[in-house]
């Protein structure tokens, strides 16, 4: 807890990283960077599997079913079985589809998720890279995912795909403005755009997290972030893009086998990333929820930061899944008026409110 914000960041600052640093002092940066990269790739592919199983289990229990039970203990190996099935399935390409974009499209969203995973602050020094404009970087990379969906819809030579992609594009770019303005508010409050320093600015008690620190401002922007990111993820109640009763599957109608798996993986990893960003911006990232009582706080501090980070993140992931089985789907005109007539003006007002708090000196 005594790390100051000015301390330089090592890619890996744990047992393995220190061992490498002791063995190869000169090339430690590169070796640790490479280890971190491998960790990010493994983490991303594992997360997709874990989240797919979690989604199926949570959905099942909401509907008083058991979900996958046959493969492994309580269906724990089900994602592996699905992966093996998907890799052996034939990749179909419809007549008239544009080859290059058809194969390029599923790769873009998943590559974008790798790029964002690389800058998430999992723990004090458990972060691969920390660009000074981290927030802008996140916004820029999430544009790449929209591009993938649009290309997929356009290249498939299928009317349903095209409509689904257009809907997804319109919805995602609309809600991206809300997301950008909420991130802007956090940048204003914490005075930095680097994700690590945003987390460090929330050091202290649970009341120093941005969600609780300022009256009403934090909690309202947190709820708006949840709404906007659910829409950005194309999840129910905003899943117009794949509305299976009207558009079969939306932009990925024509994809089979691994191409479909790529979209599916990217969707789930993006869910994790949205939750992780919510944790970073509002819930104090890797900080333990200290409540200022002398005999509880040291116990909470023993638990390592990345466990708090994953705990908070998976709680928000669970909220996304909860949304899915609670709210009915919106119509597209309702969706658009929600964003442009309610969220956007509210966002601008919140920004002004944040500026007032800054001038009053409450945000410190």
């Amino acid at each position: 807890m005594n790390m100051s914000a000015t301390e330089t960041l090592y890619p890996l600052h744990n047992g393995i990283g220190n061992m490498v640093r002791a063995l190869f002092p000169e090339s430690a940066f590169f070796i640790n960077g490479l280890l971190g990269l491998i960790a990010v790739v493994i983490l991303t592919s594992t997360l997709a599997a874990v989240l797919i199983l979690l989604e199926r289990k949570v959905s099942a229990h909401f509907q008083v079913r058991l979900g996958p039970m046959r493969v492994g203990f309580h269906g724990i190996l089900q994602p592996l079985a699905d992966g093996i099935k998907l890799i052996f399935k034939e990749i179909l390409k419809p007549k008239g589809a544009d080859s290059f974009t058809f194969y390029l499209a599923p790769m873009l969203p998943l590559t974008a998720t790798f790029l964002i995973m690389a800058i998430l602050p999992f723990d004090h020094h458990l972060q691969l890279a920390d660009p000074a404009g981290g927030v802008l970087y996140v916004l820029g990379i999430s544009g790449l995912a929209v591009l993938g969906l649009l290309l997929a819809g356009w290249s498939s030579n299928n009317k349903l795909s095209l409509l689904g992609a257009m809907r997804a594009g319109a919805q995602m770019i609309s809600f991206e403005i809300s997301l950008a303005l909420i991130m802007l508010l956090i940048v204003m409050l914490s005075g930095t755009a680097s994700l690590r320093e945003i987390v460090l600015s929330q050091q202290g008690l649970i009341f120093d997290w941005w969600i609780f620190k300022l009256p009403f401002l934090g909690i309202i922007s947190f709820i708006m972030y949840l709404i906007a990111s659910t829409a950005e993820l194309n999840r129910t109640p905003f899943d117009l893009a794949e509305g299976e009763s009207e558009l079969t599957a939306g932009y990925h109608t024509e994809y089979s086998g691994m191409g479909f798996a790529m979209f599916f993986f990217a969707e789930f990893v993006n869910m994790f990333i949205s939750a992780a960003l919510a944790t970073t911006f509002f819930l104090g990232g890797f900080h333990a929820p200290l409540i200022g009582i002398d005999f509880i706080d040291p116990i909470l501090n023993i638990i390592p930061g990345f466990i708090w980070f994953f705990g908070k993140t998976f709680f928000i992931v669970f909220i996304y899944m909860w949304f899915r089985w609670t709210f009915p789907r919106l119509r597209i005109d309702q969706l658009m008026s929600l964003e442009w007539k309610m969220m956007l003006p509210t966002n601008l007002l919140l920004l002004m409110m944040g500026a007032v708090f800054m001038v009053l000196g409450w945000a410190g």
Partner: protein, 127 residues
């Protein structure tokens, strides 16, 4: 700078991983003989009429244009907020908090005016 080198390598490894997976799937996946039905786009099993690149609602373009305007203005707000923060923190001398707050308000009001203009013009209605 080091951050961006690592990010560049991540992009490289990520695309190799993703491309490799699709390439592997292409190599080892089952294949069935090609037929006209197999290559037909799936539109609920009806034979498709005409090409897929049809004309669709112009509203998508209007919202895309609105997005461009507001996204660029949001990007302009980032440096504004940075300067606002620096003044409030006392890093920039010679300007009072009230004045810089007024300037930020004017900028946000201009954004608001743009939104209200679009609203009054009826662009925000999805017909």
């Amino acid at each position: 700078m080091d951050s961006y080198i690592l990010i560049g390598i991540t992009a490289f490894i990520g695309s190799i991983f993703v491309g490799g997976t699709i390439g592997l799937a292409k190599l080892i996946a089952f294949r069935t003989p090609n037929s006209a039905l197999k290559a037909q786009p799936f539109e609920c099993s009806e034979p498709p009429i005409g090409g897929a690149r049809i004309r669709f609602k112009v509203a998508y373009y209007i919202f895309a244009l609105l997005f461009l305007i507001f996204d660029i203005e949001t990007l302009f707000l980032f440096p504004c907020v940075k300067i606002f923060r620096a003044v409030v923190d006392g890093e920039i001398a010679g300007i009072t908090h009230q004045l810089v707050f007024l300037e930020l308000s004017v900028f946000i009001c201009v954004l608001f005016t743009g939104l209200i203009y679009a609203w009054r013009k009826g662009v925000l209605v999805w017909e």
